[in-house]
Symmetry: C2
Subunit: 237 residues, 2 copies
């Protein structure tokens, strides 16, 4: 089917995100090292984050609160109070971190948006995502920007509706997360293109996906235009 609408994920597809969490988490592991081995700290923090997702949602503010809780729990409320201030400062640093575009991101967005309707589809904290979209300098190249609380098949269907009623089989979604960018799109009848990134948050990991059709992997974002051109010249895929 012809492609008319291309969706781009943002965090770790167009710009760095998880690497900032990784750096902060390493500092955090060092901070609580007197009470917990780094491996145990990582496991406890991920567990705490997962429990907190349903009350706080995605994003840096919830991550910061999860680090504070983890520090208090692992130290049995004995960690010095100044360490809590330190964690909050890290959270603010993350919120204020400049947007670093990934290699080729600007070029690919320009090239693809010259040829297709495009939509930026990201999830998480509205305030932080809007700031990053604005700072990226890419916002004007997208026909729409959609910031969602969760990337489910239903949420993708709603986005297609707001994009003027695009049919799922005319939609291709590009992103680094199988769980958020690829599988839910395939489930609702669209196509997914997976661009793996060096870092993937534990919560986004999926076992080897059962679903083998409807999605493709490209090594780097710069391979996207050729991939899309291939779809258009092969109407039966």
């Amino acid at each position: 089917m012809t492609v008319t609408l291309v969706g781009f994920d943002a965090d770790d597809t167009l710009w760095h995100s998880e690497s900032h969490f990784v750096v902060t988490e390493e500092r955090f592991q060092a901070l609580v090292r007197p009470w917990s081995e780094p491996g145990d700290t990582a496991a406890h923090l991920l567990d705490r984050e997962r429990q907190n997702l349903e009350v706080f949602g995605y994003g840096v503010k919830g991550f910061t609160l999860s680090m504070i809780e983890t520090a208090l729990e692992l130290s049995d409320n004995t960690i010095p109070q100044a360490a809590i201030s330190q964690i909050i400062l890290w959270g603010k640093e993350m919120m204020r971190h400049p947007v670093d575009l990934l290699p080729g991101a600007r070029q690919v967005v320009l090239e693809v948006s010259a040829q297709y309707q495009t939509v930026l589809i990201t999830k998480g904290d509205l305030f932080h995502q809007e700031s990053k979209v604005a700072e990226s300098g890419l916002a004007d190249h997208f026909d729409r920007v959609e910031i969602l609380t969760e990337k489910t098949p239903d949420q993708y269907r709603n986005v297609l509706g707001r994009c003027g009623g695009v049919r799922p089989d005319n939609f291709v979604m590009v992103g680094n997360s199988m769980r958020s960018d690829v599988l839910p799109v395939v489930e609702m009848g669209g196509r997914g293109i997976h661009v793996p990134h060096e870092h993937l948050w534990g919560h986004e990991e999926v076992a080897e996906p059962q679903q083998s059709e409807g999605w493709w992997t490209i090594e780097k974002l710069a391979d996207l235009p050729d991939m899309l051109a291939g779809f258009d010249s092969a109407p039966h895929t």
Copy 2:
């Protein structure tokens, strides 16, 4: 001018919000009472919140982080660590608090949306606002739901664009905050209806507004349908 689109604010216009902050803040003042008088605590917290707005945006998670910072600052890092856990639990309670509709809210939304195009326009945390909109049971009565990071004249203009290009003079916005719901709408050429609520966050307070035209005050939300009918029968106002 005829009214074609009516915008409703949500927090403290359709459902209680600030009262949950007020209750939590009273508990917080008691918690840090060994180090600070309630009045000083309130002033310090508001100041901290205002400084943090530009890095965290609006919402409960930023408020929770501001309370933690305030507690550490006022106690010079001597507040017991368990108090920090307590503050985080209050944050979670606020996030999970059931939606309490204000008197008449459901009836007025039903009545107005039967006659006009309607849009719910709220600001703050995407995750929390979406949860509240869903839980309110009112979402289906609005033609659109818009969750913004800030309510500025530009943001209102964008909303009118997304509502199909409604002209400002065909738009009326209803809400409890002069600063967010009334003045920016009047500034961009729309009309505002102010419905005062018992509690108003310090940050939303404005000095007596200079702008005296283009907005009206009603005592309670139930007076809205008559107010709107008045606009339609007086085309020159």
